[in-house]
Symmetry: C2
Subunit: 202 residues, 2 copies
DNA sequence: CAAAAGATAGTAATTGATTACTATCTTAGG
DNA sequence: CCTAAGATAGTAATCAATTACTATCTTTTG
């Protein structure tokens, strides 16, 4: 029984910190999340954060690592369980939406990092995540063409980009509406159009 | 001849300020654009800005007004000149991409404003712009259905959202690549899939 | 029609608040 | 009992906003 213990081992404290940032990003502009706000949200003083992270940038780096690992693991698992390539794409789509529904701060952080000028570790991580995600998408699209599910005349790179854009569009809508419930309701309709756009015509 | 005059009429100075912000947003995270940076970019002192705007928020409000007016005017004009509803959608798509190509800071500002928690005048303006844009889209989609160009089974709201997402996806890609040239090259491929997704099957 | 008077626009310096980060002291817990 | 984790109390830098003052344009009037 050490549940309410104030002192945590360093690695646990780092995990808690990352979670705090993810939670805060759900409601605040990532650029405006201060170390003081992070510390307050996890019931620790601001200075304590710097016992476990050398800089604020290092915190963001850890957060981006967390996001990349979780998101890719989930969509990979979902895609693998699907029967066909097109079903894998749909599974990735649904899983991705589920993920950003559970962690509404994630797309905001991703987009926020990409917006920064210059180079930084978190920005590199965000870019790497999107590249790896795109590679998976293109893989399934090519498999779909080989399987005769996806029209071979479809531009693979364009299909990848529209897929990501479709998710983005849903996220943006929920940013405006302020609720993720409506986002999930709209998923089938959006994916139906996307599917129609790439699948072979019977 | 008063071209290099340091003193500008208030309305002209406000216009110059808005242009400065738009230009700065092309290269910097909107959240990190300071009043000092704006002032420096237009060769005035920081305090001078507050002679023409009551607050920094008021500057952003003016910027969002500028964006809304310019973008909607352009896409409306392009859509009107098109021969059919589907052609109007394509014209809007191309015009929108041209616009964000010319002003790369615009989508960053829009997204940045929407990310802010709470209510603010600039955020309301961003939301209004997106609503009005969406209304136009849905109008053309419905017209397309009536004209027999667009499949009546297509979910209009979903089609609107995917349209905006398609633009978003292209913009995000250019944020990663850091150049807008590649974005324009990818436009035809992306719109082709979208078009396929909504048009009636022959 | 020019010079005084007033209005408008901009400067330079400063404010209090907030930021990331740090130095030093305290305490929990194996 | 000693060391890792946290508290306390700072720092220097940066931010939006304001101040007192100056420069420049515009209008009025003798």
């Amino acid at each position: 029984m050490q549940s309410r213990s104030k002192h945590l081992p360093a690695d646990q404290r780092r995990d808690v910190t990352v979670e705090a940032v993810v939670e805060l990003a759900a409601e605040h502009n990532p650029s405006n999340i201060t170390t003081a706000a992070i510390a307050k949200h996890m019931n620790v003083t601001q200075g304590a954060l710097f016992r476990h992270f050398p800089s604020k940038d290092a915190i963001w780096q850890a957060v981006m690592e967390w996001v990349a690992e979780r998101l890719l693991t989930r969509v990979d698992k979902a895609a693998k369980a699907a029967a066909t390539p097109l079903a894998a794409l749909e599974a990735m789509f649904l899983t991705h939406i589920e993920f950003v529904s559970a962690y509404p701060g994630v797309p905001r952080m991703l987009f926020g990092e990409l917006q920064h000028s210059g180079e930084s570790a978190p920005k590199r991580m965000a870019r790497t995540l999107l590249r790896r995600y795109g590679e998976r998408l293109e893989g399934w699209i090519e498999k779909g063409k080989a399987a005769g599910e996806i029209d071979p005349s479809v531009d693979t790179a364009a299909a990848r980009q529209l897929f990501i854009g479709a998710v983005q569009g849903l996220v943006m809508q929920s940013l405006i509406a302020g609720e993720s419930a409506t986002m999930r309701d709209r998923v089938p309709g959006v994916f139906a159009i996307y599917r129609r756009g790439i699948e072979v015509r019977s």
